[in-house]
């Protein structure tokens, strides 16, 4: 349930976030940055503001009003959902049981071995159909405990009122424009995760996995089940 709310919120945040970037597709480092200062990098797209030099001869329509409303509302929904998920995960031991890499897997060799298996496209063993492997576990932990907290932090650091109460939130990141640039990159990392995640689900049998995710019932292919367990 929390997964699908997260999917919905993430898509809304992504679309509204892109709309907001379009109003100023230039990124800076440090405290300040504007069209009079040199950017760290520029995204070569047209802008929704005539004051931004883009090289395009036209200005996109302004979509920032509803984008900002939607961005903050879905951010709230995502944070509250994340809290429920985090507390439930601690309560049920989901993080320890299913996400922290298994004892024998906490070494580089396990990571290399698994990566090689992915590259050779070795079919997974039967026991893996119902549990995450070390690469999956590490990726999920990174998304839940590194990328999401970072994207929330960098987002909050962009709020002038929040910064007045907690100046360290923005100062530790190196300034307001650094926070904005980091927010963009962390969001990019989350999008990259999403793409790989969806591709993996598709490769492992989209309909079966979807049924498993929604109902909890997963069909394990016969061939993957060891002989003695068949009956």
């Amino acid at each position: 349930m929390t997964h699908w709310i997260t999917v919905f919120c993430f898509c809304a945040l992504l679309i509204s976030g892109i709309e907001i970037v379009i109003s100023h597709p230039r990124f800076y480092w440090g405290e300040v940055g504007n069209v009079g200062t040199s950017p760290l990098f520029t995204i070569p797209i047209p802008s929704s503001r005539g004051t931004v030099p883009t090289g395009y001869g036209f200005v996109m329509p302004d979509q920032n009003g509803w984008s900002r409303y939607l961005h903050f509302q879905t951010a709230w929904a995502l944070v509250l959902t994340g809290l429920v998920y985090g507390l439930a995960g601690l309560w049920t031991g989901h993080f320890w049981k299913d996400l922290v890499p298994e004892r024998g897997d906490r070494k580089w060799r396990a990571y290399w071995g698994r990566t090689a298996q992915y590259l050779r496209r070795t079919p997974p063993e039967a026991r893996e159909a119902n549990s995450y492997n070390v690469l999956q576990r590490t990726a999920y932990l990174g998304v839940i405990f590194v990328l999401f907290p970072l994207v929330i932090w960098t987002g909050l650091a962009s709020s002038p009122a929040f910064d007045s109460a907690v100046p360290a939130a923005v100062n530790l990141l190196g300034g307001r424009q650094s926070a904005r640039t980091l927010h963009f990159f962390v969001s990019g990392a989350l999008v990259l995760f999403l793409l790989v995640h969806v591709a993996m689900v598709a490769l492992s049998g989209f309909r079966n996995r979807m049924r498993g995710m929604i109902s909890g019932r997963l069909v394990v292919p016969e061939a993957a089940v060891p002989e003695e367990e068949r009956s």
């Binding site: 907001i20 920032n64 900002r68 929040f162 007045s164 109460a165 904005r180």
Partner: protein
């Protein structure tokens, strides 16, 4: 076979529902009394806007916007584009704004009409703060002006006042803030910038700087302040021109 709902179940469910509804209503009333509901709380984005405003008001009632050392003042500040000035503005500009008046009315004991030199005679303050635009860019400048609270004290703000509405000389350019921001020591009726008069592109001769909110709350060319107990009677009742154009009334984020 249909299951009959037992009387006990009906009563407990009914009581739970009633408790839930009255709990929500009580929360709403308490939030309203403590001024935690923004004027644009209706509509699909109302819940998010109310959460943001309430959370930030509880967290930031007295907090100060970050101030910077003189060395961080932007060499090339960016004055966002404004519509061409109206004839009324141009007439006052000819006289170098000697006849510029600021009216203070609404829920005040002594309505005022002051000139820029009257304003400058009041205690003033200078601060080096950042202007952050909702689009993403920003710059730092030194802002010199009369704290809004000094003018409100002169006029005698009535106890029932809860908002301050402020108007530009240019038509359909007005905003409002709650008293937490209106009485805040860093909210300045700004007439100077970086050791000189406030230039026209940056809002001269008079701009209300609200440094804990995004740039669009710092309206340029201020001619009127109105204290009010409710924002219902102004424009479409959403608090300012921004929500009427699709932007949030509260811009602390």
């Amino acid at each position: 076979m249909t299951k009959a709902i037992s009387r006990r179940k009906l009563i407990t469910k009914g009581l739970a529902a009633a408790a839930g509804v009255s709990g929500l209503a009580a929360t709403g009333l308490a939030m309203r009394r403590h001024g935690l509901i923004p004027p644009d709380h209706c509509g699909v984005y109302g819940p998010g806007e109310t959460l943001t405003y309430a959370a930030q008001r509880l967290l930031t009632r007295h907090s100060l916007a970050r101030e910077f050392p003189r060395s961080m003042i932007s060499k090339r500040p960016f004055a966002n584009e404004v519509a061409p000035p109206s004839d009324a503005f141009k007439r006052l500009q000819v006289n170098r704004f000697a006849d510029w008046r600021l009216a203070v009315d609404g829920m005040v004991a002594r309505p005022l009409s002051v000139s820029l030199s009257d304003l400058r005679a009041l205690p003033f303050r200078s601060q080096i703060t950042e202007v952050a635009c909702e689009e993403g860019w920003s710059y730092i400048a030194e802002w010199i002006g009369t704290p809004l609270v000094e003018v409100l004290n002169e006029a005698g703000l009535l106890p029932q006042a809860r908002y301050l509405v402020y108007f530009s000389i240019e038509s359909n350019w007005w905003e409002s803030i709650d008293l937490a921001d209106a009485l805040h020591p860093q909210t300045l009726l700004t007439w100077g910038m970086n050791d000189g008069d406030l230039p026209v592109p940056f809002g001269g001769p008079l701009r209300l700087r609200v440094p804990r909110q995004l740039g669009y709350k710092s309206v340029k060319y201020i001619v009127r302040l109105t204290a009010a107990d409710s924002l219902k009677g102004f424009g479409k009742g959403l608090g300012s021109a921004s929500p009427e154009a699709g932007y949030a009334w509260y811009a602390g984020i």
